[in-house]
């Protein structure tokens, strides 16, 4: 077993986004943290100002621009980069990885691989051989096998403020879970373990869809009844989609599922929520995307989940109507009207 003395070994965080910076801070209480940023300017700015994306950074954090340094110095890495860039980042990181590396990612999104002549817009359906979870990307692209993910209701700003919160580390390996617990746990931060890696990843990803819908309800000025309806029906839809994609129902009932869902659906701080909110206020997706540099994973997730639902013939009304709002010309009001008339009559039929 791992000895106590080595628990102060440096760890790496790959991706200096908002969540990446917060995780780096959480880790930095007891050890050196190498924080990798793709952009050399960000590295310089972190080293000079000791802050990034509005988060003050712990003095133990060293910003770097070289993946080989991160992989060379650290046995444990937390890659937290947007899903669209994840695979290309892994391709760069992979030559520096060894089977002893442990990777715990914090990205809630899907990866898709399409034939060169196709795009996400042009394909009509997607199946599981084209859609991968992030842990699967890590395993495909590198020799790392001890892989885990970090999921749960973790709004960056609340974590940064030291408010009580919890997270799940999911991995097939207890070793990874225990390591993650040891590194992240503190008085305000509770860490749970789960062995259903894919289930937890799916829960974290699919909840983004419902978060957009929740933002939309809020943008239309509706209250708590509507939200209760959305969360419960949204949950059912997540379970169905999740099962079709290879997860178990259980993971959806935990911190990464229902926990994360309730949080994001109630939080204007969440990017996905924000997208839905603005859509309901009448902005178009184009406007929204133009006005922010942060990536709302949910948009991509809706795109992919809708096409998976079509392939696996899963009933997913919320995802489908959101898809039409985002990428076709349905308005939020029309979408809501459609959903309220949708002939769903069984409450729970998945347990």
């Amino acid at each position: 077993m791992t000895s106590k003395s080595s628990s102060n070994d440096p760890v790496g965080v790959i991706g200096a986004g908002s969540f990446g910076s917060v995780v780096a801070n959480l880790l930095a209480h007891q050890r050196k943290v190498f924080l990798y940023a793709r952009d050399p300017k960000v590295v310089d700015s972190i080293q000079q100002k000791r802050e990034n994306r509005g988060h003050k950074l712990h003095e133990n954090i060293i910003a770097v621009n070289d993946l080989s340094v991160v992989a060379g110095e650290c046995n444990t890495l937390f890659p937290i980069v947007p899903s669209q860039h994840f695979r290309s980042m892994m391709k760069q990181l992979s030559p520096h990885l060894h089977p002893y590396h442990i990777l715990i990612h914090g990205t809630k999104g899907f990866d898709i691989t399409l034939p060169p002549d196709q795009t996400i817009e042009s394909v009509t359906k997607l199946n599981r051989s084209q859609v991968k979870t992030i842990s699967e990307v890590i395993m495909e692209e590198s020799v790392a096998v001890r892989v885990g993910c970090l999921a749960g209701p973790n709004l960056s700003r609340e974590l940064a403020a030291g408010q009580p919160a919890a997270t799940v580390i999911a991995s097939h390996f207890n070793e990874v879970i225990n390591l993650g617990k040891r590194m992240l746990r503190n008085d305000h931060f509770q860490v749970y373990g789960n062995n259903d890696l894919v289930g937890v990843e799916l829960a974290g990803v699919l909840k983004n869809i419902i978060a957009i819908a929740a933002g939309a309800l809020s943008g239309m000025g509706f209250g708590e009844n509507a939200k209760g309806l959305l969360i419960s029906r949204g949950m059912v839809e997540m379970v169905y989609l999740g099962r079709a994609l290879g997860g178990n129902t259980k993971a959806f009932l935990g911190v990464a599922g229902v926990g994360d869902l309730v949080t994001t659906c109630n939080s204007p701080l969440s990017r996905n929520f924000n997208v839905g909110f603005r859509l309901a206020k009448g902005e178009t997706l184009k406007d929204i995307l133009a006005s922010t540099d942060e990536i709302a994973e949910g948009i991509n997730t809706v795109h992919i989940a809708k096409k998976c639902a079509d392939y696996y013939k899963v009933r997913a009304p919320i995802t489908n109507t959101l898809y039409q709002v985002l990428f076709e010309d349905l308005t939020m009001t029309q979408a809501l009207r459609y959903l309220m008339r949708y002939p769903l009559n069984t409450d729970i039929d998945f347990l």
């Binding site: 046995n75 030559p95 089977p99 002893y100 096998v145 390996f173």
Partner: protein, 564 residues
């Protein structure tokens, strides 16, 4: 009509180790006593780890006795030792006298009993490789096989003593032979073949010998030792015995340690990871993890225990598929499969084939044109990574990986059972996908698959059992339609081959009519009721739907159904 395998090079391989005394298996049997002592020592400490308190140990022993006595009542075999009943009765009595004492007082005695049980199991499991008997067997097999082949094929007086045909004409070995031979000198090879027939063990034994490899140790089902001919072969080839009736902890641990330690000591090993013969005729999808786990454990121990500076002996996993036109037990296996498919009840292994049936089969096998091919897959390390000729592990991009690193946490090799269980699962998935990849499609597989799927498609509403009871008048397929479908599916098989997802026999190429003929002539060739044949009008019919289903299953798992 016979389409000749063109690729068969008919090559003779020199032995990689000259004298039998150099063979690891010989070394093992020479030091048999010490080895068994070590196996039992380690098994006992493992069992005590798992059952740490005296109370738990006593419970375990009682459970073991109970199970053994139940087994003797229900399912006795010819190979079971004569003193078995008495042995367990004595143990039971001794345990009864302990019942009055506190667990702590009873502990020394309980340990003594455990030791006796474990030693008995170790003795039972252990193989008995004898160089002299190995040589004799080898020569007998070679001599008679060749005689049979020549006598039967060339129907002329005197043909009996000719050497025109050798076994190599019947059994084609394809794939990574050179690498396998190299790996066997670099490290320890664990060969993991698919399992369709009881004949597999003998076949593989022959393959190993004819590739010039030293004898491998087998984990052979104890039921095979019921058949005397098999028992003789197995014993002389270094087989150790696996009794699937015994599910108690002391037995399972002893068995596992036997194989782990043997591999660790460098004995090349062979086991069928599917556990038993594939009942359905499908390539195994679920493997038994216990023995695979022991390869990972052995590798970790080697990294842990090899003195610094010495080269660590690496373990290589080599998947092998055996491809037949015909499986003797096919009809019975599929019956078993179908009867358990609905209801999950216990199925005792029954072997209807005694020595005589086996000889008959062998005679038929040699007299009729039914070839077998053995595909040797590329070597893997215990993590399922491909290895190069020198045994170095490679990642998908071709970079060299240190296998040792998989066992390292924070710079040190650690023992983590849960981690290794997970590695075992990963390895088993890799082996399964390799099976599908190196599988060689025969014409007989193609025709069986196409015919069955066509019937299925015509009667889409019927479930499997309904389909198998299809009335006879519906069991006809027009030859034209059949021919076109075969062509389509064959094209798809070519495509899969281009993507390196399956192989096919050379005879699958060429005019489709000839290929279909070859397939029909060979599919289940020696069964009383042929699974597929032409009727008077030249259309396709079946005489045995179940068996057809069995041969069809060989090609499931490739998504070929879409092309029917």
């Amino acid at each position: 009509m016979e389409v000749v395998e063109k690729k068969n090079k008919n090559k003779q391989y020199k032995p990689i180790l000259e004298g039998i005394p150099d063979w690891p298996v010989y070394q093992l049997s020479k030091n048999r006593k010490e080895f068994l002592e070590e196996v039992s020592q380690k098994s006992i400490s493992r069992i005590k780890e798992l059952r740490p308190t005296p109370k738990q140990l006593l419970d375990e022993l009682e459970a073991t006795v109970y199970r053994e006595q139940q087994r003797m009542k229900r399912n006795r075999w010819r190979v079971d030792p004569a003193d078995e009943q008495q042995f367990w009765a004595t143990i039971k009595e001794e345990l009864l006298t302990l019942a009055a004492k506190t667990p702590e007082e009873a502990e020394p005695k309980a340990e003594e009993i455990l030791k006796r049980i474990v030693l008995r199991y170790a003795e039972e499991i252990a193989g008995n490789f004898k160089a002299s008997s190995y040589k004799v067997t080898r020569e007998i097999v070679k001599f008679w096989f060749v005689r049979l082949l020549n006598g039967a094929r060339v129907k002329k007086f005197g043909a009996f003593f000719r050497n025109r045909y050798t076994l190599r004409d019947k059994i084609h070995i394809v794939g990574k032979v050179k690498q396998l031979r190299k790996l066997a000198t670099e490290g320890t090879v664990v060969m993991v073949p698919t399992h369709f027939s009881n004949l597999d063990s003998i076949l593989i034994g022959w393959v190993i010998h004819s590739l010039g490899l030293p004898a491998f140790i087998y984990g052979a089902g104890l039921n095979l030792f019921n058949i005397k001919i098999f028992a003789y072969f197995m014993n002389s080839l270094g087989a150790y015995k696996v009794d699937r009736r015994k599910k108690n902890l002391p037995y399972l641990e002893t068995l596992k340690l036997y194989s782990t330690l043997a591999i660790q000591k460098g004995a090349h090993s062979l086991f069928f990871p599917g556990g038993t013969r594939s009942r359905s005729g499908m390539i195994e999808k679920q493997l038994k993890l216990g023995l695979l786990n022991s390869t990972i454990e052995a590798q970790r121990n080697l990294y842990l225990e090899t003195p610094p500076g010495d080269k660590v002996r690496k373990i290589f996993i080599v998947p092998v598929t055996l491809n037949y036109h015909f499986v003797l037990e096919g009809p019975d296996l599929i019956d078993d499969y179908l009867s358990i498919k609905g209801q999950d009840r216990y199925l005792p292994e029954q072997d209807k084939y005694g020595s005589w049936q086996l000889i008959q089969f062998l005679y038929k096998f040699f007299t009729k044109g039914s070839n077998i091919s053995v595909s040797i897959g590329p070597g893997l390390d215990v993590m399922g990574n491909y290895v190069d000729e020198d045994g170095r592990s490679l990642d998908p991009q071709g970079r060299v990986i240190e296998t040792r690193d998989y066992f390292v946490s924070n710079g040190k090799i650690t023992i983590d059972k849960q981690r290794e269980d997970e590695y075992t699962r990963m390895l088993s998935q890799k082996i399964v996908s390799e099976y599908h990849r190196i599988n060689r499609v025969f014409a007989s597989h193609l025709v069986a698959f196409v015919a069955f799927e066509m019937w299925q498609k015509k009667h889409a509403k019927l479930d499997l059992f309904g389909l198998l009871r299809l009335p006879e008048e519906d069991q006809v397929l027009s030859y034209e339609e059949f021919r076109e479908t075969c062509k389509r599916v064959r094209k798809q098989i070519y495509k899969l081959k281009d993507h390196n997802k399956v192989y096919h026999a050379t005879h699958l190429k060429g005019k489709i009519d000839l290929v279909i003929r070859h397939g029909l002539d060979n599919v289940g060739i020696l069964h009383l009721k042929r699974p597929l044949l032409l009727n008077k009008e030249g259309n396709i019919i079946t005489k045995d739907f179940n068996t057809l289903y069995y041969y069809h299953n060989r090609l499931t798992g490739y998504d070929l159904e879409k092309f029917i």
